[in-house]
């Protein structure tokens, strides 16, 4: 009998134990509850570590897109005498924009402020530490978010250098880029991605514009500014009469392949976590790029009779540009469609439109980034679906449709608002900056220096010295 009693007691203990303990006062917290808290903490830490690992890797990948990716891509497209000057324009952004970001422009882009620009409370990275900011990314240190966004701020102005390649003073380029980063990039990044921004889709902007990784913020702003630069500076000496063929498509080829790989950090990293959204963006990015290679190459094959290597790599970049705003919102098949359209469209822009209007966008920064970015931003409003990314929710937390094919035709209008604002900001901002630089340090090198080449006249060195003597 006593053994039965003991057994019953043990059973009751097992069944009721947790309830009894849960009811006990916190001062006498049981070991189980403490373990649970510990376990929750450990789970959160593990997720944070995983996300942080991916975000630091992505940050490095995006930096690799500027150097050596873009530097090689652009460097190969210019003439031999300008190869170093062109490469160092991208490289200079890695140093100069980093300083600027630390001092002021991170705060202007991502600090809380008004609808158009962030405030000044993060000057000199004050308050940017290990603690996450849940509005941006709840599982990674704010410092990781800051350095990841810095890599975008670096490559965006570097893209513009393609438009004024082979004729701008180095000093003028530096001043232009510092002003451009403050006047065009920071406000645009704030409007689309910053807290309280006018176009922010996830933090309740007035015109929620879907831009996953920078279709408007990066490619429209840089591409349109590039066109303004090309028109303002005028043509290179001898253009279009003299032959100005790329001096090494091989360098450009290596650069484009590095851009493609780096773009996974750019787009999949924009999920700001290592979960399934990152995978979805990764897949869309890759499919978009591959389809655009085929789009551009087919258009070129039909028009010129041969599919060129330069065409194939330019198509890849055009597709990557166009899929950038859409990457985290669309499925793989719409990504293929966006890529195909972007490849053919950008080929048409650089092969026909540029020749018709006669502007000298030396390396086609507008034809690829401006045109591809605008197209991509527009198509994002068409193909975004909530099944991929439930970004819009009503007050009760129910998921709302995203883009046109999802049943939200209105989104196309929001995309157009975002695109128009990016165009206007880029045109007005760039014109003002060009005027300031023109009046202070002067924009172009002298004709004599231009003929001699920027490597020698701006930097006192040459890219290649293959002397017979050792």
């Amino acid at each position: 009998m006593p053994s039965r009693l003991v057994l019953g007691f043990i059973l009751a203990f097992i069944l009721l134990g947790p309830t009894l303990f849960a009811q006990s006062p916190p001062a006498a917290a049981s070991p189980d509850s403490a373990r649970l808290t510990k376990l929750e903490q450990a789970t959160a830490d593990a997720k944070s570590s995983a996300d942080n690992a991916w975000m630091l890797t992505s940050s490095a990948l995006v930096l690799m897109m500027t150097g050596p990716g873009l530097a090689l891509f652009y460097g190969g497209l210019v003439r031999k005498k300008n190869v170093l000057a062109t490469m160092v324009q991208s490289f200079a952004m890695m140093a100069v924009i980093t300083m600027l970001w630390a001092m002021v422009s991170y705060s202007l882009a991502f600090g809380s402020g008004n609808s158009f620009i962030g405030g000044l409370h993060h000057l000199f990275l004050r308050g940017v530490g290990a603690q996450p900011d849940a509005d941006y990314a709840a599982t990674i240190p704010l410092q990781t978010f800051m350095v990841y966004q810095l890599m975008f701020a670096i490559i965006t102005p570097a893209l513009i250098t393609g438009a004024f390649a082979e004729r701008m003073k180095f000093s003028a380029m530096l001043l232009f880029m510092v002003l451009w980063s403050l006047i065009v990039y920071s406000p645009m990044a704030h409007m689309v991605w910053g807290k309280g921004g006018l176009l922010n889709a996830s933090l309740g902007g007035k015109f929620p514009c879907l831009d996953f990784a920078g279709g408007t913020v990066v490619h429209v702003t840089s591409g349109v500014s590039a066109l303004v630069c090309a028109l303002y500076l005028g043509k290179r000496v001898g253009y279009p009469k003299e032959s100005m063929t790329p001096h090494s498509v091989v360098l450009s080829f290596v650069g484009a392949c590095l851009l493609w790989v780096g773009w996974f950090g750019f787009n999949a990293g924009s999920a700001l976590a290592a979960g399934s959204l990152a995978t979805s963006a990764f897949v869309a990015t890759h499919f978009g790029a591959a389809a655009a290679v085929i789009g551009w190459s087919c258009a070129e094959w039909i028009r010129n009779g041969k599919p060129s290597a330069l065409g194939a790599i330019s198509g890849a970049v055009a597709g990557l540009v166009a899929i950038t705003p859409a990457a985290g919102f669309v499925g793989p098949m719409p990504a293929v469609l966006i890529g195909l359209i972007a490849g053919a469209f950008c080929f048409f822009m650089v092969a026909s439109v540029k020749a018709r209007f006669g502007y000298d966008d030396s390396l086609d920064a507008f034809g690829v980034h401006g045109a591809g970015g605008t197209l991509g931003a527009l198509l994002t409003g068409v193909f975004a679906v909530s099944a991929v990314n439930p970004i819009f929710k009503d007050a009760q937390g129910n998921v709302l449709p995203s883009g046109l094919i999802d049943g939200n035709a209105h989104q196309v209008l929001n995309q157009i608002v975002g695109i128009v604002i990016a165009w206007i900001l880029a045109i007005v901002g760039t014109l003002i900056i060009l005027k300031i630089v023109d009046l202070t340090v002067g924009l172009r090198v002298s004709e004599e220096e231009e003929v001699q080449g920027l490597d020698l006249t701006q930097h006192g060195e040459e890219g290649y010295s293959w002397e017979v003597t050792a």
């Binding site: 330069l310 065409g311 080929f347």
Partner: protein, 112 residues
Amino acid sequence: MTKIEAIIQTSKLEAVKDALHEIGVEGMTVLEVRGHGRQKGHTEFYRGREYTVDLIPKIKLETVLPEAMVEKAVQAIVTAARTGKIGDGKIFLSKVDEAIRIRNDERGEGAL
């Protein structure tokens, strides 16, 4: 002594070199050059823009030979370098007054 200057297709250098070695030609100088004759070059496309390339890469091979070997050498070059199409190149012959071996100041045909 006669100097042979042969401008040939870049792809024919190995064949010409071998043919000359076979008939006993011991020295030659090879230069990478660009130029055009009646063949007017080709077109290239970069991002849809057409460029005409009228100076085409060629190889210029120079050798100075004693008179007895000149005709044999010319025949060897013509046979080895011919494809029968426009752009096969040309051979020029000219008299050479003197040859001097720098190492020991030897003069004339012995210096070749």
